[in-house]
Subunit: 212 residues, 2 copies
C-alpha cells in the first residue's frame, strides 16, 4: 500500500489545466513507477492548513511517510533519491542532472514565466521594461538551443532535469515562443511524447474535469 | 591544499559589484569554513570554454576535485553534502532546508529579478503587464513576510536556504522594495550582519576592484 500522497487543488479554471505544477510531480512519479494517491486542498479559499504546508499558497506538496515537502523542484529531488530514472547515483552524472534542474528553475523559468504573465495580461505595449524581458528570454533560449543541438536529453539519459526543463518550455511553446528555437521545440515534443508525461497530463485534466 | 576552485568573471562594471552570484558561493564556503581559491573567466569576450562550463554564459561555476558544477543553487547543494552548517543531515530538517532553497530560487527570485530588471531599465510606465509583475512580487513577499514573523531563520538553524533567500531579498531591498515588509527587511539585515557574509562581500568587491 502506497503512502505517497500528492496534494493539489480540488479544482482550477480551464486556462491553467494541464499546466498546474502537480504535473511535474505526477510525471516524475510515473517515470519512477512509484504508486501514489491524490488529495485536494480548496482552490477558492486557501486554508490555514494550506499555508502551513505551502507558505506561498501554491500547489503541490508531497507527503512521503514522515516527510512533507513543497516546491516541485524539491519534491523531484526527494523522489530522485529513490529512483535512478529521475536522478542517477553516480556522483558526476548526478551533479549534471542537479545543475540542469536548477538551471530550468532559476536560469530559464525566471525569464519565461514573467514573459508569459505579460502575455496573459494582454499587454502589447513595447516599453523598455517589456523589451528587456523579451531580450532576457531570447538570450536564455538561445543558449539552451545551442546546448540542445545534437542532444536527446540534457544529461546522458532522461532525468528530472528534463521534466523540469520541458515543462518550463511547454508554457513558452503555448504562446508560440519557441518559433525561433527548433531544437528546443523538438526537445519539448520528444519529452511530451513519453508515456509517463501523457499519463500524468491526462490524469491532471481528468482530476480537474471531475470537479466541474 | 585546497582543490575547491570558484570561477567568476575577471571584472564587472560598478553596478553589479557586490551582487554577482559568486557571492552566494563565497558566502556558503565561508559559513562552511571550506578553503577555496578563485579563478577567472573574461567578462568581455565569453569564451567557448566558458560556455562548456556554464551554458548560459553566466558565473559562477565550481570545481571540486572531479566535479565541475554550475548554477549557484546546485553548487550550494553540493557544498551542503559536506557541511552541516549549510544542510543538516537529519532527513526532516534536510527537506525543510531544501524546500526553502527551491522556494528562494523559483517562487521568490522568479518574481523579484524581472521586477528589478524593469527598474534597471528605467521603465516607469504603468502598463497592465508591469502591474501584474508588481502584484506578483508583492504577493510572494507578503507570504514570505508571514512565514518570517517570529522566526530567526527559515529552518531551525541558519542554512543554505537563508543564503539564497537573503541574497534574493538584498536586491529587492536595494530598490527599496521591502519597505512594506519589515520582517523581510529585518531578516536581510540579520543575515548580512553575519561574519561569513561580510567576508564574502568584501572579497568580491576587492576581487573586481583589483581588475580596474
Amino acid at each position: 500500500m502506497s503512502d505517497v500522497v500528492l496534494t493539489t487543488f480540488d479544482w482550477v479554471p480551464e486556462t491553467p489545466r494541464g499546466y498546474v505544477r502537480d504535473l511535474r510531480v505526477r510525471w516524475a512519479l510515473e517515470e519512477a513507477e512509484l504508486p501514489y494517491r491524490v488529495e485536494v486542498t480548496p482552490f477558492g479559499d486557501r486554508t490555514a492548513e494550506h499555508f502551513l504546508h505551502q507558505p506561498f499558497g501554491q500547489v503541490p506538496w508531497l507527503t512521503d511517510g514522515d516527510i512533507v515537502i513543497f516546491e516541485s523542484g524539491a519534491i523531484l529531488l526527494h523522489l530522485g533519491a529513490s529512483s535512478d530514472a529521475l536522478l542517477p547515483v553516480d556522483p558526476q552524472r548526478r551533479n549534471e542532472v542537479i545543475q540542469w534542474s536548477f538551471a530550468a528553475l532559476n536560469s530559464l523559468e525566471m525569464a519565461s514565466l514573467p514573459w508569459s504573465l505579460f502575455l496573459f495580461s494582454g499587454d502589447t505595449e513595447e516599453t523598455p521594461g517589456k523589451q528587456l524581458l523579451d531580450k532576457f528570454l531570447a538570450a536564455r533560449l538561445g543558449h539552451l538551443e545551442a546546448a540542445l543541438v545534437g542532444r536527446e536529453w540534457l544529461a546522458e539519459t532522461f532525468s528530472m532535469a528534463d521534466i523540469l526543463t520541458a515543462d518550463v518550455l511547454r508554457l513558452v511553446d503555448r504562446f508560440d515562443g519557441l518559433a525561433q528555437h527548433p531544437a528546443c521545440r523538438d526537445y519539448v515534443a520528444r519529452a511530451t511524447a513519453r508515456p509517463a508525461f501523457l499519463k500524468a497530463h491526462s490524469d491532471q485534466i481528468a482530476h480537474f474535469a471531475a470537479a466541474d
